[in-house]
């Protein structure tokens, strides 16, 4: 497999008059065509910022960044307006938790998908509408011809989420970015959408980055899982490996504290404290204040992300 995406030492800092947030502090990873990478982490760990960086969606004037994001060889961080517009419109698509952000409430679903198709392919109106119908069918929306005429608010949550996926796939992207697309959905609907993403990923051989804070969701969709903490990837491993033998104390704590079947009556393992404030650039391991294995060299310098075996990397002084 060849890597379609290479992210190297990505740093993203937001500077506003009243505060500075070091949201992403040196993230590196690769993604192959046809691969799904799950990014798992708690609120504020930098998952969405990392994802949005790939599309350069941050407010330009108050975002400082460094590092490199290469998509099929092209440096995203140096793209001009034309290249950026191609990137966002044709090569990479994104789906969100809230489909409301993807659709305009005053146009029908059909009009919006057809318009996107037209903009990117130059198809005629009738052809574009036909393609929109095919797309709705592809995401298994029942009676697609009728649904084309529906306004976003006339659809149920699960249906809107499917329509958003159809919109995202309308210009044949090779990379799909998913930011918690199922978090707001009901359990019985969430699983339907997860299975749909998995099927479409296979059918179109998409590269997918799937951000979630839910381990179960990450396990359902990912080939590899990266765990983020305080703006850094602290561990990256194939999904089986991450579930069976997580190495970083934070990943281990996260897995152990997630309640699942069969834990009734047991005391839950919890991680004391809360994630750090991102106002300062960390000078050592960000997890140190909460880590029960902390030792002097943890805070002396930032531990590097080291391979413990093939495809399994851990950012901890204890990892060997």
């Amino acid at each position: 497999m060849t890597n379609m995406l290479q992210v190297r030492d990505l740093h993203v800092t937001f500077v506003t008059p009243d505060r500075t947030v070091h949201a992403v502090n040196g993230v590196s990873f690769d993604l192959a065509r046809g691969e799904t990478l799950g990014i798992l982490g708690e609120s504020g760990s930098g998952k969405s910022v990392t994802l949005r960086s790939i599309l350069r969606l941050h407010p330009e004037h108050r975002t400082r960044w460094s590092g490199s994001i290469k998509l099929e060889g092209d440096e995203v961080l140096e793209m001009g307006p034309k290249a950026l517009s191609d990137l966002r419109g044709q090569r990479v698509s994104m789906i969100f938790q809230e489909p409301a952000t993807a659709f305009d409430p005053v146009f029908t679903i059909g009009q919006q998908i057809a318009e996107t198709v037209r903009r990117h392919t130059g198809k005629s109106e009738t052809e574009a509408m036909k393609r929109a119908k095919d797309l709705l069918e592809m995401v298994r929306i029942p009676s697609p011809a009728q649904r084309l005429k529906a306004y976003p608010h006339e659809m149920s949550g699960g249906m809107r989420q499917r329509a958003m996926i159809a919109l995202a796939l309308s210009c044949n992207p090779t990379l799909l970015l998913a930011d918690e697309p199922t978090t707001a959905l009901d359990a019985t609907v969430q699983i339907q959408v997860l299975l749909l993403v998995r099927e479409l990923q296979r059918e179109f051989n998409l590269g997918v980055i799937f951000v979630t804070h839910d381990i179960g969701v990450a396990v359902e969709v990912s080939d590899r899982i990266g765990v983020m903490y305080a703006g850094k990837l602290v561990e990256m491993a194939p999904v089986e490996r991450m579930v069976d033998a997580p190495q970083h104390p934070y990943s281990r704590g996260l897995l152990a504290s997630t309640v699942h079947d069969g834990m009734r009556g047991q005391r839950l393992e919890s991680i004391p404290g809360a994630p750090p404030d991102l106002a300062e650039v960390p000078s050592g391991c960000s997890f140190a204040p909460r880590c029960k294995f902390v030792r002097p060299d943890c805070t002396a310098a930032i531990p590097s992300l080291r391979d413990v075996e093939a495809a399994h990397a851990v950012r901890c002084v204890l990892a060997a």
């Binding site: 299975l195 009734r264 809360a274």
Partner: protein
């Protein structure tokens, strides 16, 4: 009456702490193009439940099925259209019973949104002292109570008493909300998605704390959540709701180990797998829950139920005891007319 002494048990252990019978709440909503026709959301329909002393009753169901409406009815934040409530033998809001105020002293609630539930202009100590002071506790004793409450929820009083809500993390704020719920020494606490907004590592801290407090203070919980795993972890009995109705109710082992209602089964198997070698192959049911404004006739689940038959559209299945748990499905009622039911 000194309202701040812990309340004595009255009817003995076998008498339910809270018994709600036939609760109904319909919300009128504007409908039609000009908003002129009035429709009703049937948020909770003829729901009967009892909460035993010392138990944790879990309530699960998808969003909009009426969980929060049940919670708000149980502490009378909203008035039921119909139905009665009895707290340890005392009818609520009836001539020979207890007042709604007395109910709210004995039954407290914790909400999901830890921030919106706290007054941003009051320090944590002021927030926690508010209700005890209003119930006549002298200032010095109220300060003592605040210190005690903060320690109970694992927050160092010296460090946290003078902070404001925005100076706390979500997990810390939720601890304060729990402390506030404990301030009047209630017997029953209703937790409505109380840990749902917390990160997993913090959620575990709060769950451990809830388990400890329950034993220490002899509490009873109604624990409402859409997270089936957390409900399984905490509850003794579980109530499953679908579109304003109870579809199944029973001991946690029976509901999780041997679910009887097709909806309960679907809900349980919709949980993402934690094992990458055993991923979910097929969604257990299709479609979204229908709108509670016009719920389907008969069994409200029939539009998504793989076993629906004609009788399901015609007659509403009643909650019937099956030995281990109560289930509302025609397949479980002998002679109901469903082809999978036993003959009567």
């Amino acid at each position: 009456m000194d309202t701040l002494v812990p309340i004595e048990d009255r009817g003995g252990p076998a008498q339910p702490l809270l018994l709600a019978t036939g609760l109904r709440k319909h919300f009128p909503v504007a409908g039609g193009l000009l908003g002129r026709t009035t429709k009703v959301v049937r948020a909770v329909d003829d729901l009967t439940l009892s909460v035993a002393k010392g138990e944790t009753l879990g309530v699960v169901g998808e969003s909009g099925c009426g969980k929060s409406t049940v919670a708000r009815l149980l502490i009378r934040l909203i008035k039921p259209d119909k139905g009665t409530m009895v707290l340890d033998g005392d009818p609520v809001d009836e001539p020979h019973g207890i007042t709604v105020n007395e109910l709210r002293r004995q039954v407290q609630m914790v909400f999901q949104d830890s921030y919106a539930s706290l007054n941003p202009r009051l320090t944590i100590a002021e927030t926690l002292a508010f209700a005890p002071r209003a119930h006549g506790l002298p200032a010095a004793e109220a300060r003592e109570r605040v210190r005690d409450l903060l320690s109970k929820v694992g927050l160092d009083p010296a460090n946290y008493a003078t902070r404001y809500p925005h100076e706390l993390s979500g997990g810390q704020r939720q601890r304060v909300n729990i402390a506030r719920a404990l301030a009047l020494r209630p017997r029953l606490i209703i937790l409505d998605e109380a840990v749902s907004a917390l990160d997993k590592s913090v959620e575990a801290q709060v769950l451990n704390m809830l388990v400890d407090l329950k034993t220490e203070l002899d509490l009873t919980y109604v624990f409402i959540s859409h997270d089936l795993n957390v409900v399984q972890y905490l509850s003794d009995r579980v109530l499953v709701m679908y579109l304003g109705k109870i579809v199944e109710l029973g001991p946690v082992e029976a509901i999780y180990g041997n679910p009887q209602h097709p909806y309960t089964r679907a809900l349980l198997s919709a949980r993402p797998s934690m094992d990458p070698r055993k991923r979910t192959r097929e969604a257990p049911i299709q479609g979204d829950p229908p709108n509670p404004i016009d719920p389907p006739s008969g069994c409200r689940f029939r539009t998504r139920c793989p076993f629906a038959e004609e009788v399901c559209a015609r007659t509403e299945p009643l909650l019937a005891d099956t030995g281990h748990q109560a289930v509302a499905c025609h397949m479980r009622v002998a002679g109901s007319g469903h082809s999978k039911a036993m003959a009567a």
